[in-house]
Amino acid sequence: MEINTIHILLVDDDEDDRVLFEEALEDLALDVRLETSENGLRAMEYLQDTKGTLPDIVFLDLNMPLVSGRECLEQIRNDEDLKTIKVVIYSTSFNLDTVMLLKNLGADGYLCKPGNYSDLKKAILTAINSIPNINDKNVDMHNFVIKP
């Protein structure tokens, strides 16, 4: 595994969305390694097992069975070994109150799933390019919400 390879974990219970995300990454032809989990429980198990080779970014769907994206985020932020992982919320819905809440819970970005494939690619690209470089927790809402 090369140093420059970006390691991404996608947590989403929706198979279509996982496929679309995967295809988008392939089309973008980036040097990335993608792991996927179909729910928060699996994701947490995965993260606990792979300490040492943690992903650079976790794309986290919100609405999932067993352990929701929000609970997942809280667990990550409360785990000494995991708390530094970048987490981007990846959800269909966009409710300002919810967005604010997740920002306060320590999410690094919010990507609202677009209804257009090229927008999806652009948004993923923006997220991969900008998020790992953000070290400021007080990022403003404008930059927190990732636009295509």
């Binding site: 929706d14 279509d16 969305d17 679309l20 295809e23 269909t92 819905s93 409710n95 300002l96 109150d97 799933k113 677009p114 209804g115 257009n116 494939y117 090229s118 999806l120």
Partner: protein
Amino acid sequence: MKEKNDNLYFLEGGGEMGEMMRTMDWNATVLGPPQGWPQELRTTLDNLLGSLFPMFLFWGEELLCFYNDAYRPSLGDNGKHPHILGKAAREAWPEVWEEVVAPMTGQIISGGKSLWSENRLIPILRNGRMEDVYWTFSYSPVRDSSGKISGVLIVSSETTNAVQDKRRLTESELRFRELADHSPMWIWITDAEVNVEYANKELLEYVGIGHYKEFTGQIWVDMVHPADIDTVYSGFGEAVENKTGFALEYRVKNTNTGEYEWFMVRGAPRMENGELTGFIGTGMNVHKQRTFSEELRKEVGMRTKELSTSNARLERSNKELQSFAYISSHDLQEPLRKIQTFCSILMDSEYERLSEQGKLKFDRMQSAARRMQVLINDLLAYSRLDTESRKLETICLSSVVSEIRVELTEDISAKNAFISVKSSCNIDVVPFQFTQLLNNLVSNSLKYSKDNGQPIVEIEGKIISAADVGDSRAIKDTEYSWITVNDNGIGFDAAYSEKIFEVFQRLHGRNEYRGTGVGLAIVKKIAENHKGFVRATGRPGEGSIFEIFIPRNSPD
């Protein structure tokens, strides 16, 4: 000419009667002139004329009449006075001679005991008629030095007024009793210690005793509902202590049915020289009213409860509806987004391979998906309005318009529209909600513009008082931000000025104008969220005016 009696000490003084006796011509009588009158007559007349107590004297065989000033009023006017003076009793008192005067004087003269009579009715002729006159009197003998009885002295007092007063009193008492006993209410009288001095028939029958004298304190203990006995004791106690009236409601057992019935018992203090002597009062059966009003109260309580239950139910179903709207629109978004995404992939990679017909149908499919997305977004926004946090901020209308100009750049330039702010004012709103409101109105104006000519949208903001709003919905004594959005678009029929604010109400076919029917509903809801309201006026072909009234929270 009448002869003057000289040296007649016993006729001195004596007022009117003394004067009459002095001037009377006694020669015409059997007595002859006073100089020749016997000593016992002289002494008796001396006493009689000198007395202030009514006295009458029958003298001699003929029972000649003498009386003093004090007696004179009992003879009245147009009666015996003054002519019976010196007359024989038989002539002077013909109406009572046989019945009274003859037997009584006869008894004295024949040596019997003095007589005493109290409040005796002896009708006499006076004041021009026979009158019932009551007397209290004594008949006593007047003896000469030899002990022979030569006259009868009557010390008398007329008691007609006292007797009549007493009789009137008795009658009035009787009338009261009769009245009281026919009363359907309780009527009672007590002394200062609240011992019953009188109770009417109604009360006695209700508690089942024969006479008010049997009305002891124990009756109350037995008859009053145990839960009310303290009310009775403290109520009467307070009235005694404060010497005031009272009104108490308590239950008393009906002897006949054994059931307790509610009574309203009122009492008024009886006072004498500032001292309480007792109470007089009534008792009214208020059982029907009481139970009726109690039932009414219960009924009202029940209805109120039902109302609040159904209110709660309504609120709950309202919330459920909201969350349903939210969840359904949110969940609808998910598959739609995928349809659109897969569409866009096909569009990019496979579109050129489709036939012309296929391309057309593909385009239509995409456009339908887009419209569904707009609809879902609008619905989502509409359902979120109630649940989102709202913090009022004072913002300036013109700055909101600037924001909207940016948001609607594409539409504005596509339609070559002109948007102007004629005047601006401050508004107290949740900023993003109000921005959405104005956005919806302006995009509405752009959407429903005429095909020919430049769309012009004029926005105005003013602060006005509730009175100037001229709308019953305006809150009194409140200032309003009055925002008008005036366009030169296609307008609408005045008949629809209310309907256009309802969800899914569209006035146009989808192919004519694109709109989801939610935009104006959102406008209305946002205005109402701010305790404000909306008004729309329009004329077909001549444009529309939308007015928004938002109350000022913190007037500047």
